[in-house]
Amino acid sequence: MEWGQFFSEYGGLFFGALGAVVAVVFSGFGSAYGTGVTGEAAAALTKEQPDKFVQSLILQLLPGTQGLYGFVIGFLIIGGLSMDMTLQQGLIYLVAGIPVGLVGWISGIHQGRVATAGLQILAKRPENVVNAIIYAIMVETYAILALIASFLLINLV
């Protein structure tokens, strides 16, 4: 089968699936990094102060949501895939995957760094741990906006 023929027949499906991949993979990168760095620091803190496990777990989980947002978009895209999709539909899915994928990637990394820094608040002034949480979810706002943008784009198909 020629490339041209392949794309004219399955292009929609191909690009649609690619959209799901972009959404899940890149936001997953961000969350994996974010929860990773925070997890390392949280382990170091819990070694000294084991009673702070639950609170440090909350901080570690905060940068984990980007991956979930990406998964939601990926899931919705996959639900909309079919063999007879047009190329145009597939390309919209691809574009729809980009906001949550890329913003999730970058914001996951930065949210992880804020959460890691927030562990200092947890270590020294545990009564103010909410401040650390608020700082961290400031970053998440942009991942949420990207999730909404991605979602609205999917609805164009």
Binding site: I58, L68, I134, T141, L145
Partner: protein, 646 residues
Amino acid sequence: MAIAKMRKLSLYTLPAFENELLEHIQELKGVHIDKIEVEETVFEQLGEDINTLELEQKISELQTAQGILEKHVPQPSFIQKNRSPKPTYNLRELKEAYDVAAVNDAVTLVYTLRDRLNEIDIRLDEIESEREDITPWQKINVHPDRLEKLKNLQVLIGTIPQATDRRYIHALEAFEGLEISEIYQNQEEHGLILALPKNIDMKEFNEALIESHFEEWQYEYDELPQEKLANLSIEEKDLKAEEKNIQGSLREKGDVLEQLRLAEEYEYAKLLRLNTRSESLLTNYLFVLSGYMEADKTADFSKKMNDVLPENAYVLEVSDVSEADEETVPTLLTNNSITEPFEELTLMYGTPNYNELDPTPYVMVFYSVFYGMMMGDLGYGLLQWIGTFLLLKFLHLDDGFKKMVKMFHILSYPTMIVGLIYGSFFGVTIPTQLVNITEQATEVLVFSIGLGIIHILSGLVLNAVNQFRQGNPGGAIKDGISWIVILLGLIIGAAGTMLFQNEMISNIGFGLSLVAALVILVLSVVLSQNKFGGLAAGVYDLYGISGYIGDMVSYSRLMALGLSGSSIAVAFNMLIGMLPTPYKFTIGVVLIIVLQLFNMFLSVLSAYVHGMRLIFVEFFGKFFDGTGTAFKPLKGLEKFINISER
């Protein structure tokens, strides 16, 4: 539903009654002690230099001893611990409840046992390293010292490194007249005994030793290596038996632990009483205490003082809070039982000033709606309801934790209601569905932002109310009302253009906004000393409109988190649904429970923190600065017991 009205107390009595009086106040838990400012020249203040160091030391010893015991005494589980309420004592009973001498002895004993355990630990480590050192040499059946004393032979015992080409051992073998006997070899080294006649050239021999990296083995015991190993084993066994013995006796000391806790409670209460001396006034002839108390409790308080102190021995003065005092009056939030648990959210941000509004009722309403929208599942709501209900029903929780559980209990209702509206039960669509969040996401988004606008407007209303109450009508108009008019005007204007296509409506709307913006500028100039600076501040204020747009967009998370939670639940259900039938009803059941609980946990966490963000940033940011003083009555530690009135 508001901030509790306070009255000011002043108590004058004789120094002899100081302790008794403070004990009563401690048991009542209702008086916030306020510092008395006096000019030092007038009175000779006693007790300023009171040394609490000794008492603090004692408390810290009690805590350390408890810590040691807690490591050994089996601790009850969370459920066991909270099945029954904490015991209740008044301070007099508390003093009788434990034996001071016995507690002191117990502390000493626990310290001694801990020290002995540490010694044993150290010695056990030493034994281990001695054994490692000696074990390879156990084949030597002559004491090394005896070998060294031989008349005609020079004997050296030691190791050389292992090498694949055996180059180190070759270096020795090449040395003429040297007798080498190998005791052991392992991956790192050879253990050797070297013997050579005493008349040989030592300089050359030393070079050979250096070349082969020979390291002499130091043996400093009287016994033969084998005997030493046997002795070490015996010593180790004895030490381990002793260790076990001590641990066993520490494990039995559960009742001592209880005594130590009571002692800590008593001594801590004493420390808190002594600490009030820096706030009160104590001279040779007079003791004066000043503080605040909830207005409706003062009558009861003065009656109780009458029971405690002889009638002629004290003067109690209860007065209304004057305006001059308003800065220092502490704030106590009082709300009905549904709103009360949400006080924690308000206090996390800050304490309102005494003359401010208590925002908690508004927090309760909005936070509940937000939380419900972000959870949006009947099943999760039910689980949350059951879990929190069981905790509240069957356990006696500490106040702070109980409030939190109660808050989540209340929040389970909006979760279930929104779950019904969204028609979602653990991600499965149910027929109550009014709104399909996946297909009608745009509508939910518009609703979320609409809710956000209402939230922001309420924040501005509260700003105006607060500033009016604080006697600052100019500020109320500038920071509160004008902004409300600007926002409403913009909404009317936008609606006129887009919904009604009516130019007049939109002109009225935009016109209103413009007028309100001018009011802000004019008031900024009028209200400030420096007119030009005021104008600049006003312009900067207006620039804040961009912030409002950001605030409104922020509420889109209400839709986004609801959507994401329900999509993940649907995805999990679908995954398990794809399993072949035999797996679906075995491992699939376990998996779906784990996955759904995981999703619920994440949804609760997201809804909790994102709801808080909307309250703190978008709402409190408009009117609440939280710089008040929290009402902190004099009371006890109350970690292990409750202190009651006698």
